[in-house]
């Protein structure tokens, strides 16, 4: 049987978190009452004209630069013509043949080394309004009518188009995860999949392994999580493989992912609905980016995950630990703050990827939701290092800190977890234990080192676990010697 290789490209839409919309001054504000964030421009009223939001252009440039794109010196907006009731003008202002950013790449790593995924283009456009389908459970095909809210119409939208360089659903998952981290790191979008501020479509075809020519591609829509993207692609790989193995042809079409059934189905659309009749938007003038502007934006770029990863390795972090912290904005910022507060990088990083992660998983919360911050983590790790806390006590302190009980110092004090290593405090307790276990002391003096553990255990029991085992061991040995 022939083996097939998937060829996948991803189109990602990202809503920008500018204050105002792409072409008018209405606020970009998720969750406002319906049809309140609207004006003549974004409602497509007769006579209204768009004006480009300069900050949105800078945000788009930021994304392009972060994805290693060339920034076009001259780019233009076009009208993409098609009728849809939640698109006020019945054309979308979008960039077409002269986009702002072209020819970049984003590297992903699924464990077998970095894979560069080409970025064909990043372009600017505007979002549509939102339709709610009424009747029969809100499903479009069974609806009796639809209600439209134009608040989202005109929100700045970036379309990021990848080259068909992705070869598996797992790589696709890694790509969009990495892309989301980049966008978050840039601070240009909140990239919330559940609210639709980040969405993706996939293009997928199969070809016999070892061949170059592309097979017939299918576009998949309606995947609203990274997991559903991965599931949809895997389903589509199976479906197309089955077709090809049965000697049937894959039909070039757009298919709709159904989350409940876990399958894709062909969408009804007429052939001419793809004739978008693009032409240059006469109401807008071209965007010209000179070297000075591009360099100004480049200088303001924050550090990106790949760059942070390299820097973390230089700081002595292990590869997997550095990968986790560099790819997660929250982890990265807590890590940086902890190091800035005097924490040892490796120690702080190990805490973050170890205990902190385990705790968050147990409590089903996120780092942002917890009260853990960089200062607390630095303090905690140094308390362990200097023996103030035992390893097990430190876990309790961490839980207390996460729950908002205070600083590690405060939590350790209030939970009475400070480790006792002061010999003046420990000696009387050790002496009591030795006196009560004369037989064991005899064995020790006779050279039987195994009883030391037993004696330490007795001291620990007597101190409620707070005694520093190292210090106790030293006192016992000195007394017995």
């Amino acid at each position: 049987m022939m083996a097939y290789e998937p060829v996948i490209g991803i189109e990602t839409h990202v809503e920008l978190t500018t204050a105002s919309k792409m072409f008018c001054g209405c606020p970009v504000d998720f969750g406002a009452p319906p049809n309140t964030n609207v004006c003549p421009v974004c409602l497509g009223l007769p006579g209204a004209l768009p004006v480009v939001n300069g900050t949105a252009v800078e945000y788009a440039m930021t994304i392009g630069l972060a994805l290693n794109c060339d920034i076009a010196a001259h780019s233009v907006f076009a009208r993409k013509n098609y009728f849809y009731p939640d698109m006020p003008k019945n054309y979308q202002i979008s960039q077409f043949d002269e986009p702002l950013c072209v020819d970049g790449h984003l590297d992903i790593d699924t464990g077998d080394g970095p894979v560069p995924v080409g970025i064909t283009r990043v372009h600017m456009e505007e979002d549509t309004g939102k339709s709610t389908h009424i009747g029969e459970g809100g499903r479009i095909h069974a609806a009796t009518h639809s209600l439209i809210d134009f608040n989202r119409a005109g929100v700045p939208l970036m379309e990021i188009v990848s080259e068909p360089d992705i070869r598996s659903a797992e790589q696709a998952r890694a790509f969009v995860t990495e892309l989301r981290e980049v966008v978050l790191r840039l601070g240009v979008s909140d990239a919330k999949l559940e609210e639709g501020s980040m969405r993706f479509d996939g293009n997928i075809s199969l070809r016999p392994e070892g061949t170059e020519a592309f097979g017939t591609k299918v576009e998949i829509k309606n995947m609203n999580s990274i997991r559903s993207l991965q599931r949809a692609l895997n389903h589509e790989i199976e479906r197309q493989t089955a077709l090809l193995e049965a000697g049937e042809a894959v039909v070039q079409e757009t298919r709709h992912w159904n989350e409940e059934t876990g399958t894709t189905s062909g969408m009804r659309s007429k052939e001419e609905s793809f004739d978008y009749r693009y032409f240059p938007e006469p109401d807008l003038v071209p965007v010209a980016v000179d070297d000075e502007w591009r360099e100004r934006v480049t200088a303001r770029l924050p550090e990106l995950p790949a760059q942070a990863y390299g820097r973390y390795l230089d700081m002595g972090l292990d590869g997997p630990v550095a990968a986790v912290i560099s790819r997660d904005v929250e982890y990265g910022s807590v890590f940086e703050a902890a190091v800035a507060a005097g924490g040892t990088p490796q120690m702080v990083a190990n805490w973050l990827t170890g205990e902190v992660t385990a705790l968050l998983r147990r409590t089903e919360s996120t780092l942002a939701e917890s009260a853990i911050n960089g200062t607390a983590l630095a303090e905690l790790s140094s308390m362990v290092a200097d023996g103030t806390l035992s390893a097990s006590a430190a876990k309790d302190v961490l839980a207390g800190v996460a729950a908002g009980e205070g600083t590690p110092d405060e939590v350790a004090a209030s939970r009475d977890l400070i480790q006792v290593s002061d010999s003046a405090a420990l000696e009387p307790i050790v002496d009591e234990v030795l006196a009560a276990n004369a037989e064991a002391v005899e064995k020790l003096r006779a050279g039987d080192g195994k009883v030391v553990g037993f004696l330490i255990g007795q001291v620990m029991r007597a101190t409620g676990g707070k005694a520093d085992p190292g210090a106790v061991s030293e006192i016992i040995r000195s007394r017995a010697g």
């Binding site: 004006c39 939001n53 389908h133």
Partner: protein, 96 residues
């Protein structure tokens, strides 16, 4: 240059519900105009860039500042059909 228009397809693209008789009339009229307009093809334009804007200008931007929105009632008062705070339309057959 003779022009042959698939007028029914063009009317569908433009969302114009025209009957056969109207389609035929528009087809004839459009073909006359297009045959005249097609004269532009006689002019050699190799290497000539297209003009989209009569006066060249670039970078007309607005600051990212929120301005006042319209009053919802004033907006919805013009709607052919509404349901509460929404515009109402008949059922939608296809996803965008």
């Amino acid at each position: 240059m003779p022009v042959d228009i698939d007028i029914a397809k063009v009317a569908r693209l433009a969302r114009l519900a025209l009957d056969d008789e109207e389609l035929e009339r528009y087809r004839q009229q459009c073909e006359v105009v297009l045959e005249h307009a097609a004269r532009v093809q006689a002019l050699p334009t190799d290497g000539v860039p297209p003009t989209s804007h009569p006066l060249p200008r670039t970078n007309a931007f607005r600051d990212d500042v929120v301005t006042e929105c319209l009053d919802r009632e004033e907006v919805l008062s013009q709607a052919p059909e509404r349901d509460g705070d929404y515009f109402l339309v008949p059922r939608i057959l296809d996803e965008a």
